[in-house]
Amino acid sequence: MTADPGASTVTTPPAPASSGASKLLIPFAIGAAVAVTLGVYGKVHEPTGIAVNIAGFSGPLTVKVWLASGAFALAIVQLVSALAIFGKLGVSARPWVNALHRWSGRAAFLLTVPVAIHCLYAVGFSAFDTRALVHSLLGCFFFGAFTVKMLILPKRGLPGWVLPVMGGLVFTALVGLWFSSSLWFFTTHGVKF
């Protein structure tokens, strides 16, 4: 009844500090939740050993290997286009470089999703040797880091190092994933489809 117009201003939360820290808090929290959820699901879910195959490949493993290799190749495109966008290549970036970076990133991400589903659903979080453990940890980390990268992209006023660092982490994780899976497959089983 005695609504004081001034009272509403008291209840509004204080404006976030202009530093990037508060803007990063929620994306990082969500990203961490994604990584932990994947890890817990992979550990708790009973691996079925069953997954759908894609016609034309000899088995689910080869499908994964080639999807991951596609993502790996696109990740190289990501690195180069990111360097161009930040003017590290010595030439001013053409406008299409932005689109290239955006779409190659989307494609790379979409290629990794079926691989991750197969890993999580059919195999699970595994620690039977160093390669499997590293791969499992990197897999969880990759999707967490990618989530963070996506969520902070539209935010303005972040410190300049944030995006390159997050992009670098995502790239490094993907490269590590590729080395611990596809390269291992190629070197132990040979290059096959």
Binding site: G49, I50, N53, V113, H118, A122, V123, M150, L151
Partner: protein
Amino acid sequence: MKHKGPVITLLAGLAVALVLLVVNVNATKRNQGGRDGAANVAADANATTPAAQPTTPPPTTAAAAPVKATFAGDVEGGGASLAIAVNNGTAIAYLCDGKRTEAWLQGTAADGKLNLTGKNGSLQGTFGSGEAIGTVTASGRTWGFALKTVKAPSGLYRSTANVRNATVVGGWIVLASGRQVGVLNVAGEPEPAPALNIPPGTSTGTANVDGTQITAVEVDGSQL
């Protein structure tokens, strides 16, 4: 629009993941509706034959046929080869490096899970969709493995014979490439196995041990 792009990317990935998960869950249910939860191996063993692949565009096929499959390949690191023969709930595995290390393992293969033990080793893993994944321990060492199904004449062969009053047990893994890895155990002493000669279209092979011909039969996973 530009601000929503990254979120849309994330949601698109999530949507793809959910669709794949549903497809996988359905595939699992279909397969488990078959026999003992691992009927997919037989289905996938068919799918891996090059001739059958193009004629079956749907990637998953469910078959209620008895589960009978042999997985073979090199273990992680390539230090040894491993073959696992699965037959309706039971499995026999043989790990060998072609020189001295070998282990015969026996156990169960039910609900997509492998659990085998032997005199000097053990094996745990999962199988299905044409692959077997897990770990194998023998002589105090542990290897990871990811094997694919193989078809005759590739597979697992075993021979028990008596040569000059010595019990000879031979084990051969014939890999998909045709390469043979085998160890001959002569009265408890392992040594590299002689080449196994497998006539085309048969599931038995012969080898020459000190002038005596021995016969090896394909192990189907039911019993040693």
